[in-house]
Symmetry: D2
């Protein structure tokens, strides 16, 4: 998958190459996940309204993928670039303005240009194709949820409620608290970070390459490449540091694994357990609270960002994280089939226990 | 860079392609870092003695790189594969035995075969070349240290003492405590995890690609691909989740950045600040404490690993992490020069403040 | 560069990634080469009228490239897919219908779908960007011409007349003969093959990788990937087989090379001489003369192609070949700069003699 | 596959990654093809004696591939680098000496260093693995033969005699004539070019990617990357230029194809017919006949190459060409399986007629 497009350019799009043929795909398949990512739906996300109507430009004939590159396009319709005009010559603190300027010597300042989170729309779109194939072919289900907003963590984990609240939060009883928290935050003009977890069920054992295309390495690259991400964990992640080997190694019996500290990956290859990974999002840097910076002429300035921004970018990141996981999984599924397509079902196969319960 | 070789096969090696010509390289250049990674030097690492004499097979003529592929080889001399004989048919819990078996339908069980940490020797070797070029060409210095062992964290950060103790620990006053801790751990037969930090000074602004070859994404992939790694952070990492945007965004003045929560990367591109990343290592799974598992015939078994293993793999991981960071940096330096070689020095250039002081 | 799109789908497009920043690009830059490739301009090419208006979707801001992916799009407007309806279930002899069907199990039959030469439009468009950068940065000029149509070969080579006739023919005196030849061919319902030569001036020495990214290897892949191509030559090509080493090796003096049998490449790396390559196009397989084949149901059928087709696809291939050469050259220029950007000008530098005069 | 090593360095080697697991491979499997490529066996090839004993360094356990990287190594034993001492500062005409010098600013002059044909030994070795898998898994048989030496072409094609003469010549009656021809050539101190054909039987339909990984494009790159190659053809190749579409398109019936002008590839994808390609080798440039050139100090010199060289490099190139074809085929077989592994056998399937009879 490759994407193109700037926040306030004519369009954004992506090209998905190598998709298996015969998969049924229609424009409406993209609606659900794009809506989950879209701004402007609740007061807790940016007020920018993205209709995000996907046009399928190629690679699909009579509703089915042909095996040739699938190009998807979304026109940018609600791009008020005048919002950004006043800061075209300033380097917003915490933004890619300065690093782009140093790299290229010029940049498209409208809405962050290429560095805008608008780009992630196309990741979600491509992820829809990946999710669909994974589900139809292997029964793989990829689900994300929020596991921390600022300092708030879930009291419990009931994944059935995640889609019923604007925070993808796994504990329905805390939603009111989060509403209050976010309202206060928005009013203060500040922002907070977030942690997003993704789990994937029914991933067969054997996906991943031993060293350079490790499943966890590819997941790390895919998730870290999302805007505002500062950390990635597989399984217990950084909690592994303080753990003992006797507790961390997931013991095995014919009834299944006794635990899942590894997050479903050993040696870079899936074990057949539930895949678990976690992603840290920094707080949005675009704030109406003034921040010190300099401009391209070398003057010190005070930057105030007046555009429409999310007080917590992580909220909308759940479908993006899911998409990146799904894209890595389909890629590894195809690569595994390439090399090991003649390896039959190997015994013994250990059942995929235990399910996620929020306990590291 | 690509590596090959199994723990107990005839040899391990790597091929480094695309190295700039004219760099002076000799076998003795590899000695320092290979010794830092080597086992058998203190009682806190595996007793396996690896002499690790590097042979340069190609790509170097009269002591200088020619620009053609550099092949490096180390013969495996102290490979007691009988140590592993008893567990050739068992899936050690927490190891890649089961996932390799499921992927390939067969595996080299001697010392973990390809999944052994022995492979990382060649990463360190390749990293030596990368470090040397980065230092000579850009003055880049890549340094790693331990920032957590089990539940112990440094009380202070003095990087000048890191190379003077067996733990790469930045606080000399704690070394005795760590010796006691590790002795007790080794006696107990158990193991712990570790956290390794790497910082790189003098990285110029502009390295990294905007979306798919992001500097942080490449670092995440490189570090996560090291054996036993379960998490990667850039800058503040997961601590960003609980932080506020007004505090996290690193404000800028003509005297430099006010802070470095970003770890030297914004939008996937280096800012010229100190590069900071952190890696979580799980505790060694090879323990002499018995663990429940099954064997390839489907019998439940009790696994005891009697080979020579590290009670904390993270200890020797410091040069490995440095190597992976250096390999990513040289790659990004060359890619940046490819695309942006005609972009001159861009003003204003912000000084690379502040230096690391252990404070997130 | 990657392309997408089918002959009769909504659009075709491409994404050019890694383009140096600061290059001035406007939609009208594409006009000249797209017109050279376009059908419907003389009676000697397909009557399909392609307006081929390029839309720049990304990667260009205020008329200059920003260094981020450049997406180009052309809507398919004159796609009369009913022309093809009658043969949707037949495998046209000499076409990719059968091989696509066997590969994917389904195919888009409208105008050949992905296998249509329509795709080459985007290669020409991407080539415009490559040509422009090569010319501005290195003075490289890439020029193509026809060196054989059917059994007709040029009597002389005057490259200044190539753009003045519909055949890209280097001998103005033969154009009338070719008009007659092509009229008779078109009337007969048959087609012929063609040979297209491309030369590039001012390519500096040193471009190309020694073994796997050889300049000639990359050119071969790029040219062979054009529809209908069956052969590629560098320098003397197949004429080298019958030559003697004493004559073929291009002797060197301080005044220049005595000859250019190598076509400007030795050991996969440019020598600084004129780059010369040649491409063989097979005759169009789409004929109104009936051909024997079978259909997807296993019936033997007689196929008659009534759509608008070129009696000699090679005629319009000249700008396509140029584009592919330019794309390979920019890629190698950037790769060379990545690895060898610190290698200064090396003496002695041999002048780039002799110029092409058609004499192998 | 990647190779490393210089002609007169310590060793040459290669790493084959992604090989399917379970393939039985032993050092003696390499003997046959390495002997076919080896020098010093008849008076018609270089007198350099290469014993070429392959050591398998990794990726094979108990005689079977494990799926991890296979490293192969050959020590350079008979490297008389003093042979080359006198020309270390000269640019031999027709050699890569000058282009390497310009690219890197330094070079390993011993025996041509990296640009030596010695590197092709490892291609042959890697090709052995590819051939074996292709044969066992699909019954694919890859065979090469000489189809032209200088101006001599075969009078007939009987592939059963190819392995019985030192020229891989398909007409036994001409071997004596070729012996005489080559003896005279060697005596004269000159050299000639050669054409090598490779055919592959039992390639299933569907291998190859539509545009950028076209089977013919990949073959062209692979064959053109062999030392001294100046041209590549698929099927009729350059003879297609003068042919008519009505004759060139291979008509189809349920009994098979009426002809094979396409060489088994349409639209970049295999048709199931016999795969046919042809490669042009230039005459050896290393001659004892003096040639004009310059040296690295800018002096004009007369170059005489006194080392042991082949009067016709093409003679030993037959197994190299086969290897490159086999490596492309296994790669495409695995890629096809990745994307289209769920596409079953598609009807109708056309029989793979006709067999090669030397008639274009």
């Amino acid at each position: 998958m490759t994407t193109f497009g700037e926040s306030h350019g004519p369009a954004i799009g992506c090209v998905v190459d190598g998709c298996p043929p015969g998969l049924s795909i229609a424009p409406e398949d993209f609606r659900h996940d794009l809506d989950r990512r879209a701004t402007g739906k609740t007061r807790h996300t940016s007020a920018r309204r993205e209709t995000d109507d996907i046009e399928i430009l190629s690679g699909v004939y009579e509703g089915r993928t042909t095996g040739t590159p699938i190009a998807l396009l979304i026109r940018n319709t609600d791009a008020r670039s005048k919002d950004y005009g006043s800061i075209a010559e300033q380097f917003r603190p915490g933004h890619a303005d300065y690093s782009y300027w140093q790299k290229y010597g010029l940049r498209d300042p409208r809405g962050g240009g290429r560095s805008s989170a608008r780009e992630t729309t196309m990741r979600v779109a491509a992820g829809v194709i990946a999710k669909k194939w994974l589900a139809e072919r292997f029964g793989v289900v990829v689900r994300g949820f929020m596991s921390q907003i600022g300092e708030v963590v879930p009291n419990g984990y009931d994944l059935s409620v995640v889609e019923s609240n604007p925070f993808f939060w796994p504990d329905a009883a805390q939603v009111a608290e989060l509403e209050t928290y976010m309202d206060a935050l928005r009013k203060s003009g500040d922002s907070v970070g977030a942690r997003v977890d993704v789990i994937a069920d029914n991933v067969p054992p054997g996906w991943g390459e031993p060293i350079y295309g490790k499943l966890d390495g590819e997941l790390a690259a895919a998730l870290m490449s999302i805007n505002a991400v500062k950390g990635v964990e597989i399984g217990d992640g950084f909690a592994s540091v303080a753990s003992k080997g006797s507790a961390h190694r997931d013991e095995i019996s014919l009834q299944g694994f006794a635990s899942n500290h590894a997050g479903g990956i050993l040696g870079g290859i899936s074990t057949g357990q539930q895949l678990r990974c976690s992603t840290a999002f920094k707080p949005t840097s675009s704030l109406r609270l003034p921040g010190r910076s300099v401009d391209i002429h070398g003057n010190e300035v005070e930057v105030i960002t007046t555009g429409r921004h999310d007080p917590c970018v992580g909220i909308r990141a759940t479908p993006i994280c899911e998409a990146m996981v799904a894209l890595v999984l389909i890629d590894q599924a195809l690569r595994h089939r390439a090399q090991c397509g003649d390896v039959g079902t190997i015994t013994p196969r250990i059942p995929a226990t235990p399910e996620f319960d929020g306990d590291v």
